[in-house]
């Protein structure tokens, strides 16, 4: 029989999986950013279903109360996701800088850098 906490965790994980797949289907989430989410959600389901697995994990990590291990996994998974986002944002920032520089250089080259063209440069 499933504990209440197990049920909650499973439902939450299924919710995440459905949301991720739906976002991908509608083209609003790129595949490369969905993988971490799916890995996290499926991992949560696995741990929620198998009490034995969760208990051995809790034992291994020294977590006294096994369901806490579940939340620990979820929390660490979220941290990994945030880290991933930071990396992605850093890359985007760099790309934006490069684009801005290229734009400025090109504008200079085609001579739109003339006085009074401020409005068009914006």
């Amino acid at each position: 029989m499933l504990d209440r906490v197990q049920l909650t965790a499973i439902l939450a994980s299924i919710g995440i999986i459905v949301a991720v797949i739906d976002l991908m289907r509608r083209g609003r989430l790129r595949e490369e950013y969905s993988i971490l989410w799916l890995v996290l959600a499926f991992g949560m389901i696995g741990l929620s279903l198998s009490r034995a697995l969760l208990e051995s994990l809790a034992q291994l990590t020294g977590i006294f109360y096994p369901p806490s291990a579940l939340f620990a996994v979820a929390f660490i998974g979220c941290l990994a996701l945030f880290m991933h986002f930071s990396v992605v944002i850093s890359r985007l920032t760099q790309q934006t800088v490069t684009l801005a520089q290229e734009l400025a250089l090109l504008q200079q080259k085609i001579g739109s850098g003339e006085a009074g063209s401020r409005a068009s440069a914006r």
Partner: protein, 295 residues
């Protein structure tokens, strides 16, 4: 030189060792106009534009003065005229770093080349834009001069000399060498001291004034920095990067003026962030393995 000569012959003429001697002679003469000698290269004036390398456009000089400017409409014209007067053969490129005022228009009216960044990138992104321009248009030397007028263009000759002599790849105009006329406030002085020490450790060379943005670069350093330039508070980090990539740095004493108008890029509120960000940048740069090789 006739029109038919190959680009390699042109480049040969531009190599520092072939023109340095005459140029240095000129540099030592105080009168204006001496720098025309730097620009032996513009012999390709004779060739029609289309015959030159793709990237080289109508510029006729081999020294580019990169002037990053953010909301400097009040200072920029004076800075451009000052640089012009002291580097007559050089080109002046103002990088308008997303200013909200008329900086770019004033610069254009004063006759500078202007790149307008679509939004503010910070001093590092602006300087890097100028260095990219220098690479694409084949300049031999780039000089970085702040758009706020704190750098005295009369001192540019001092920055150029070690490069023309082949003694250094990068020359930093220092406020702290020789007769010191610049006394920053206590806290800023402490901060600078800290950077000095950190950079000394990280770079293995004692540079007194790591935060100085008054610098000159030779062609190799330009192309290295065009690809790897730190973004936010870039000067101390750039020193470490350049050293790690094996460039020769030299510091020379330059006079600096008090800021004419406008504000330092480092407002008091940002000072704390600055004090954390810069050492972190230096530390990471010292550990970095990517993008550290000269190409």
């Amino acid at each position: 030189m006739s029109q038919g000569e190959s680009p390699t012959a042109l480049q040969e003429v531009c190599r520092p060792d072939t023109w340095a001697l005459s140029v240095v002679g000129m540099l030592q003469q105080p009168q204006r106009g001496g720098f025309d000698a730097v620009c032996i290269r513009p012999r390709h004036q004779g060739a029609p534009l289309a015959m030159r390398d793709e990237g080289r456009q109508k510029h006729r000089s081999c020294v580019l003065c990169v002037v990053p400017a953010y909301n400097e409409a009040g200072n920029i014209a004076a800075v451009i005229r000052d640089v012009r007067a002291h580097v007559p053969g050089g080109d002046v490129l103002v990088i308008d770093d997303g200013s909200a005022d008329e900086t770019a228009d004033v610069a254009l009216e004063t006759g500078a080349l202007v790149c307008r960044l679509p939004f503010n990138l910070g001093i590092g992104g602006a300087v890097q834009t100028g260095l990219k321009f220098a690479v694409r248009h084949g300049y031999d030397i780039a000089v970085q001069v702040d758009g706020d007028g704190q750098h005295d263009a009369a001192e540019i000759a001092k920055l150029l000399r070690p490069i023309l002599n082949g003694e250094a790849d990068v020359v930093i105009g220092s406020r702290f060498l020789g007769k010191v006329t610049y006394r920053p406030p206590l806290l800023r002085r402490l901060g600078m001291r800290l950077f000095e020490l950190l950079n000394w450790l990280a770079a293995g060379q004692h540079i007194r004034d790591n935060t100085s943005g008054f610098r000159a670069y030779n062609r190799e350093a330009i192309s290295f920095l065009a690809d790897n330039y730190p973004t936010h508070y870039p000067e101390p980090e750039a020193v470490v990067m350049l050293r790690r990539a094996g460039f020769r740095l030299k510091e020379v004493h330059t006079r600096m003026r008090q800021r004419q108008r406008g504000q330092s890029s480092i407002a008091p509120a940002k000072a704390v962030y600055y004090m954390v960000r810069v050492p972190l940048g230096i530390f990471i740069t010292a550990l970095r393995t990517v993008g550290m090789s000269r190409r």
